[in-house]
Symmetry: C2
Subunit: 406 residues, 2 copies
């Protein structure tokens, strides 16, 4: 008997989360033997509970779906809604009633850790009540911190952005190379430093900027940092330092919290300052050279100009594979990437238990971090294949065309 | 009699200032009848005075010059050195002695307002002592604020960056579209709002983000701003506001200075905060919705991924035309762009007196600014041709190859 399917997106967006959406929808539309309608939840599970969904499968026939593939952000909208831990909560029967009303047989959720938690709970509840709806998670996160998979869709494009823009910024920072200066670049990553580590790819030659790289995996010592900056300035007059937003003292205090303790705005509120801004002031005070801090902010997760073709293709394939796995009978699983080789790069797709994934985070291995401030060649070998290839976007009047819900 | 030529770069870099350097050098090398060696000053006039220069013409034969063309930043290094107002200062005979020692007949300086001031002083001093060295300025500035020229090289690529990344950011900001939010984007431009105005190009349809755009040309009223934000949120739940870094109260106080009065860091120093960060706190306080501020920072002036092909070609041509003008006998001039038509776009090159250019700034015309917070179609018509065309960069391992001095 044919069933309908539904797909949602959750958590912070990436440059390729819509690539996975495209993969899920395109494959769903193709599976006419098993699947009737392909629905999309608007604003994830939260929106679906409020009755918001759309017939996204219809966009395949009109050709609009093709534009979704290369559009950053979450086309269906996102949410940060966490389902209750208690599977006896009334939200579960409410949700399953809505799913059954729409004759849903396949449920896909594209997201990170928290989204896999949703898939875990729904699949466990389904097992409990004997529902045959299948729940599949499709990974996405620029943080690259999901276990059971070699890497996550979204990381490659964000890493390509970081490597490219750090390389550009380092060149920009060195034009007054007869005067010493420090440029501090703050990169996303609260708990895992994968994306900040990718800044090592920006180096054009040995010893090039960024000379110092700090990840949240290593306790950050402010005095040691200042000494390393001073030493590095002797060799590199225009020093570039890359830091994760989540660098911390190893005892639970983020570096950015040191600043927030003191800065107060017009209204008497704490001025929430990033770690980069805090270190900018620290270097100004302790080293006395010109300092600038740059926060890549959301630009690093939504750049269409720096999409990695490898990343986008894998994101699409993860969606396609997710639909195939569901039809084959899998549920409570996340799609995983299995790397067989880096030269040449060889990857296949698999599935893993979401219950393991949603409760763990994968840090950058300690042995890939050198002296607490540099990244090893093993990381470079790991990351390089993921940023390969450019994507040519549809454009109009010199700007990329993006899909949006009307 | 054949002479040597020398070229320098000054002021803040752009994505295409090396395009102009390429144009000057490539044309200089070609003009074998008039020009012998093509030298480059390292760190502009300041570096040249300290004896730093290189034989950049030699890079043409080795093929390295081609990589310079698409490299952001100032390949030769830059400076912010201002020559003394008093032409009787001993630095002038010192400088001319150095120029004569190297048999320089042609001097090119690529830069903005301050660089044209250098060209003005040197050409006036040359006239005073009867020197036949010819001094030509080649314009560059993302600010687009030079008079006597339709626009400046560097503006088109920065405008393409702003339009593209505002469009991406607006999509990223709207993924939680069931919750109201404000995103404030701070764009470079201390006194002129041309680049911030380019954010209007990001709109995908009428009424799209950025809904509010504020330039330094209009006095900024904080109360009125909050009222406009509240009204705009009624129609656009995820509001994007673009502001120039230089927005001010019309009486000489920058908006960012309001914040700097109060924020104090660990060391008792004023925390220098941007206008965007200040308004983020203001909106949080007065409107009470989720707010984020984003500073495009130097990324907007050094992006190779978002180069405008039109801008790069014009930057190269400005350099080529500069060499030709000098050989034809011109001195004390800046190369200018003369637009004849926008549909189709038609441009020719000319020259103008640097003495006029170095003392004036060109603001965005008042009639192109609507209600103090929007940009007219006349600006769109003006700016659109300047962002057309993409540039394919040489790459290696998924990243752009950039030239650098060894």
């Amino acid at each position: 008997m044919k069933k309908n399917m539904i797909v949602g997106q959750s958590g912070g967006p990436t440059a390729v989360i819509n690539g996975s959406l495209y993969g899920v929808v395109a494959e769903g539309v193709k599976q006419t033997e098993y699947i009737d309608h392909v629905y999309g939840m608007i604003n994830g599970i939260e929106g679906f509970l409020a009755g918001n969904y759309m017939d996204i499968g219809a966009m395949d026939a009109t050709g609009e779906l093709e534009f979704v593939r290369t559009t950053p952000g979450s086309f269906l909208g996102s949410c940060r809604y966490k389902l209750p831990e208690d599977l006896n909560d009334p939200v579960y029967p409410e949700l399953f009633k809505k799913l059954e009303e729409k004759n849903i047989g396949y449920f896909f959720y594209i997201g990170g850790n928290d989204s896999m938690d949703t898939v875990s709970k729904l699949s466990r509840y389904a097992a409990g009540i004997g529902s045959d709806i299948r729940f599949i998670g499709v990974p996405k996160t620029i943080d690259n911190d999901l276990v059971e998979t070699d890497h996550t869709p979204g990381f490659g494009s964000a890493a390509k952005y970081v490597a490219t823009v750090v390389r550009e910024t380092a060149i920009d920072a060195s034009v007054y190379d007869n005067k010493k200066s420090v440029t501090i670049i703050e990169i996303m990553g609260r708990h895992a430093g994968w994306l900040t580590a990718a800044s090592v790819l920006a180096r054009k030659f040995e010893g090039d900027n960024p000379v110092l790289i700090y990840l949240p995996e290593v306790a950050f010592d402010q005095d040691e940092f200042i000494e390393k900056v001073k030493a590095a300035l002797e060799k590199t007059p225009n020093l570039v330092v890359c830091i994760s937003e989540g660098i911390n003292d190893g005892k639970g205090t983020f570096v950015c919290e040191y600043a927030s303790d003191v800065g107060v705005d017009n209204f008497g509120h704490k001025m929430l300052t990033g770690s980069g801004k805090y270190l900018e002031n620290l270097v100004k005070e302790k080293v006395g050279v010109k300092v600038r801090s740059i926060e890549f902010n959301v630009c690093q997760r939504c750049s269409s100009a720096m999409l990695s073709d490898t990343d986008l293709k894998e994101a699409v394939n993860a969606g396609v594979y997710g639909v195939q796995a569901a039809i084959a009978g899998e549920t409570g699983k996340m799609i995983t990437f299995i790397r067989h080789n880096s030269h040449p790069y060889e990857l296949t797709y698999g599935t893993a238990d979401v219950n393991i994934i949603c409760n763990e985070e994968k840090p950058v291995p300690a042995e890939w971090i050198i002296d607490g401030c540099d990244i090893s060649d093993a990381f470079i070998e790991y990351a390089k294949p993921l940023i390969q290839g450019d994507v040519s976007l549809p454009t109009k009047d010199g700007l990329p065309i993006f899909a949006y819900r009307k």
